[in-house]
């Protein structure tokens, strides 16, 4: 049970890794707060980097691993393990047009990117590659950055199947 694995990762046996992660995560709070503002009913004004020329971020790692950089605020099943990919939905599902947003640091270029976690909807739980990471996640009263909500909204069915992680821009480095 991947869910279980996820929780177990957080137990004492893995304290060493936790601490090493913590180091890079500390101080991240300010950056997230600078990037993500606004709630469900306001259009967020996201400061984004405009000086960068790269057409797409270079990436390394295993997109089927919860530790992959794009998944820093994901909470759900990775669509890449369900017949989709990290940024597309499995056959027969519908991608939610409404999303929650994370800001993740790409270790390859050291830059932060805005990630839209679009859920794929209309079939029941994929069940594969369950990940829970909460960098920048906030309580449900701050919905645009809350992964506790089922974001299958605006789709013909609100049944949750899996989550994608789509790069939609570069975050402003503060």
């Amino acid at each position: 049970m991947k869910w279980l694995d996820g929780w177990l990762d957080k137990t004492a046996e893995n304290t060493a890794r936790s601490i090493s992660q913590k180091t890079s995560r500390r101080g991240f709070l300010g950056k997230v707060a600078g990037v993500v503002v606004g709630g469900a009913v306001t259009v967020p004004l996201l400061p984004v980097a405009r000086s960068q020329e790269n057409p797409a971020p270079r990436e390394e790692g295993d997109p089927a691993s919860c530790e992959y950089w794009r998944y820093c605020a994901i909470d759900g099943f990775l669509c890449g393990c369900c017949g989709g990919s990290m940024n597309s939905c499995p056959p027969g599902t519908e991608m939610s047009p409404i999303t929650w947003i994370g800001t993740c640091e790409n270790p390859v270029d050291g830059k932060s990117y805005i990630i839209s976690y679009n859920d794929c909807c209309g079939k029941s739980s994929c069940g594969n590659c369950l990940c829970q990471r909460n960098e920048g996640d906030r309580p449900v009263y701050n919905p645009r950055v809350s992964n506790d909500l089922n974001w299958c909204l605006g789709t013909s069915s609100n049944t949750y199947h899996c989550s994608t992680a789509i790069v939609i821009g570069a975050a402003l480095d503060e």
Partner: protein, 384 residues
């Protein structure tokens, strides 16, 4: 109809089977259905298995937390579809769950229902069809609340517009929908009223009239930051005061006993030497019958650790704003519940998704409840 004739034949057949004419062995009665005692023993608990891998088939297990017999500790089961939300009455032997159904399981027309279960028979004794807007989210205590001496049920909606559905739970009818723009969840206030947390850092309150419609609203000043060290929505209510822990370990009390929420002075969960400890988990707060507050805590907190398992439960005297106990868990836990008696049990879901039971006042580990077929128990409740 052919079908019905055959059905009658077969029912008759069963009657024949069951009659004493059938052999000289006394046939055992058929059709016996168990019922449950009223009230339930104080240490029976309700474990909400949201069945994260099979959400349409979530279940609530009624368990005897004192039992060491795995086979008989299950007292009954009832269904709760698609990450249900739960609450129970204290003045009636009733439980309430919010469920979502679709005409074709995972697809098709959506129907949201507030289902009423009897505690004696664990059967759905009534339902109220509500607007198909209830928030679909991980379970918390503040999606569904009772106010007005348990006459009204209030339901949090998220479409992503936010509102509250008002149900007359005595007469079992939907009354009204109250918009709460920019705000979320339902915290019960004294009388016929509720409060909600707003993205701008304030709290909105709504007074209802006798028809469940909005009579008046009010708004506190901004008292928290929704991004930087935000308050957790997972408050515990003690004597009408909601205690909100923050990500970094402050506590913000909000008194909901008046006609408007009154924000109290914050204090800290952390004392000298507690640096790095933070609250975290799914349900992170509880209270016992003496009004002490319990918080699930983990060390070495970092940005994003606010749902990590807790290794200890810290116990606070909220009057004197000081820690009075510190319970080391035998396994880290992701969620917490409490029985409602004078010698309460502390209930946690551990990282193996088993239930560990502790005596709350001594902090002593009692037993682990597992192998009762649950998939992902995320919320735990003592019987009222």
């Amino acid at each position: 109809m052919q079908r019905h004739n055959i059905m009658k034949q077969l029912i008759l057949l069963t009657v024949i089977f069951s009659s004493s004419a059938f052999g000289q062995v006394q046939p055992e009665p058929t059709g016996v259905i168990q019922t449950l005692p009223a009230p339930w023993p104080a240490h029976w608990i309700i474990a909400h298995d949201v069945a994260f891998f099979h959400m349409s088939d979530g279940k609530f297990y009624v368990l005897d937390a004192e039992s060491d017999d795995a086979a008989t500790r299950v007292k009954g089961i009832f269904n709760g579809a698609f990450i249900a939300q739960f609450t129970q009455a204290t003045t009636r032997p009733e439980m309430y769950i919010l469920e979502t159904f679709r005409s074709r399981g995972s697809r098709g027309e959506r129907t949201d229902v507030l289902t009423i279960y009897g505690k004696d028979n664990l059967a759905p004794i009534g339902e109220v069809v509500i607007p198909p807007k209830r928030a679909s989210a991980m379970p918390t205590n503040y999606h569904l609340q009772l106010v007005d001496d348990e006459k009204l049920a209030l339901i949090y909606n998220f479409t992503p517009a936010t509102s509250v559905s008002v149900v007359d739970i005595v007469n079992r009818e939907f009354l009204a929908e109250i918009p709460i723009p920019g705000c979320s969840l339902v915290y019960p206030m004294a009388g016929r009223a509720f409060a909600s947390l707003c993205t701008d850092g304030s709290m909105m309150s709504v007074q209802l009239d006798e028809n469940g419609e909005q009579a008046s609203t009010a708004r506190t000043g901004v008292f928290f930051d929704a991004n930087n060290d935000p308050i957790m929505e997972k408050a515990v209510m003690i004597d009408g005061v909601a205690y909100f822990p923050t990500f970094l370990g402050r506590v913000v009390p909000v008194d909901l006993n008046g006609s408007e929420p009154e924000v109290g002075r914050e204090w800290s969960l952390l004392g000298d030497g507690d640096e790095g400890w933070r609250p975290g988990g799914i349900q992170v707060t509880e209270r016992d019958s003496d009004g002490r507050m319990y918080v699930l805590m983990h060390p070495d907190g970092y940005e994003g650790s606010h749902k990590d398992p807790g290794t200890e439960v810290w116990v606070f005297d909220v009057e004197n704003k000081r820690r009075v106990d510190r319970i080391e868990l035998q396994l880290p836990a992701i969620s917490m519940g409490m029985t409602n008696d004078d010698d309460p049990l502390l209930l946690v879901t551990n990282v193996n998704l088993e239930l560990d039971i502790y005596t709350a006042k001594s902090g002593e580990y009692q037993r682990t409840l597992n192998n009762f077929a649950a998939e992902t128990v995320l919320m735990l409740y003592g019987a009222e």
